[in-house]
């Protein structure tokens, strides 16, 4: 596995997009871009699955299995038998 971060769970259904461009405003890694009035997924490999785009997409055009990319939180959750992985207590 040369790069664990190239693949992720981000999916964009362009047919559902209404062009509100909220995804371009909330994404901290410029995964989406707007050109000629249409939104496109230009850097999917940069997605960190924070879920901001999905939550702010009013038409459900974006889906992502969002969560915290933190090994500590994941291992603590696994040890404690928790389903949800979050930072801190």
């Amino acid at each position: 596995m040369l790069n664990a971060y190239l693949a992720n769970t981000l999916q964009f259904n362009v047919e559902l997009c209404n062009g509100c461009i909220m995804c371009t405003a909330v994404c901290p890694h410029a995964v989406f871009s707007r050109s000629n009035g249409a939104v496109s997924l230009i850097h999917p490999e940069r997605c960190m699955e924070c879920g901001a785009c999905q939550l702010n997409c009013p038409t459900g055009a974006i889906t992502v299995d969002s969560g915290v990319g933190c090994a500590t939180a994941m291992m603590i959750a696994a040890l404690k038998g928790r389903q949800e992985v979050t930072c801190g207590e």
């Binding site: 664990a4 702010n56 090994a71 994941m74």
Partner: protein, 335 residues
């Protein structure tokens, strides 16, 4: 820092200045060192900065002093309102990930402070990194207030307010050397006690070199790694950690191989092997755990890293520990 004043009939509004005092800086230093970790809080509610009118902008923030202070100091000279959400003393981005900086809390805080009676407009400027917890369209539907996402960094707010928009640079999160260095003190503080305990164990089963090797492995993970992150080869945090750990293990391996004339060759080799197994595994474990401090690792990627590399870390550490114990016992019997 703040004075409480009663402005409307039912709602308390506090005044705050944009000035960062010595007491604030002391609080920031403690926060950066992880001291009194859950007590760097601001009272949630509505604050005035300067002399805002009913047309003045409203900014949302977390009730974590570093977040709140970054916002109010960046807004020096701006008459505005700051709506502080109850994020349990957690910063905006982490709280958004947990959902405490979230739609429900924002809507309830808007209603609870009577914001609609205080301002004539219906817009709240929310930090962009709060977006993983806020559904803007839902806030609009439930409260009547439109969420406008401001820039990632509070320091870009003056430019954002001037132009009315955040440019591409303002929308990108960074992880430059300064961003990484600021994480080092708290990592050291958190690792100090575990490091002393583990180093103590390896002193008993490996002498001073064992203890020192442990300290160096851990410091490589918490100090060197954040500094060297972009320059270490490979993309995965674990492999970067194995490489860094391997490099810092070299002096210890050489010391075992060269600096023990009273030992047999096989004994020196095995002691050298313990460092080759222990130091990279400890460093790699810490670098894997640094994923949570970064601004770009995805959950699915981290999961892949854990499943791929954690077993190797555990086997290497276990093997190094067993070898150290075995060699120490053999040494006690004069072998």
């Amino acid at each position: 820092m703040q004075n409480v004043v009663c402005q409307s009939d039912d709602h308390m509004i506090s005044e705050v200045s944009s000035r960062i005092t010595l007491a604030d800086r002391w609080d920031h230093l403690q926060a950066r060192l992880g001291i009194r970790r859950n007590r760097h809080r601001v009272e949630p509610g509505l604050y005035t900065l300067g002399k805002p009118s009913s047309e003045s902008p409203v900014f949302a923030s977390a009730n974590y002093t570093l977040s709140f202070d970054a916002l109010r100091s960046a807004l020096a000279g701006v008459d505005c309102y700051i709506l502080v959400l109850d994020t349990k003393g957690i910063n905006v981005w982490c709280a958004a990930g947990k959902g405490t900086f979230g739609t429900d809390e924002l809507v309830q805080r808007i209603e609870g402070t009577g914001l609609a009676e205080i301002v004539n407009h219906r817009k709240v400027i929310v930090p962009q990194l709060g977006a993983p917890g806020i559904a803007a369209h839902e806030v609009k539907q439930r409260s009547g207030f439109r969420v406008e996402y401001g820039p990632v960094r509070a320091r870009d707010l003056p430019a954002y307010l001037e132009t009315g928009k955040a440019d591409n640079e303002m929308r990108r999160v960074t992880f430059h050397l300064a961003d990484r260095l600021v994480l080092v003190p708290v990592e050291i503080v958190h690792m100090l006690l575990p490091m002393l305990v583990i180093a103590g164990v390896f002193y008993l089963v490996g002498g001073w070199l064992g203890a020192l090797g442990t300290a160096v492995a851990i410091m490589a993970g918490v100090v060197l790694f954040p500094i060297l992150l972009p320059w270490l080869p490979t993309a995965n945090f674990s492999t970067k950690g194995f490489i860094l750990g391997g490099l810092v293990a070299v002096p210890f391996i050489l010391a075992r191989l060269i600096n023990a004339p009273d030992m047999e060759t096989w004994q020196r080799t095995v002691w050298g092997l313990t460092h080759l197994l222990l130091i990279p595994s400890m460093t790699a474990f810490l670098t894997l755990n640094f994923t949570g401090s970064t601004s770009f690792t995805s959950r699915s990627g981290v999961r892949r890293e854990i499943f791929t590399y954690f077993p190797a870390m555990a086997w290497m550490f276990g093997g190094g520990l067993v070898l150290s114990i075995t060699m120490t016992i053999l040494g006690l019997f004069g072998i």
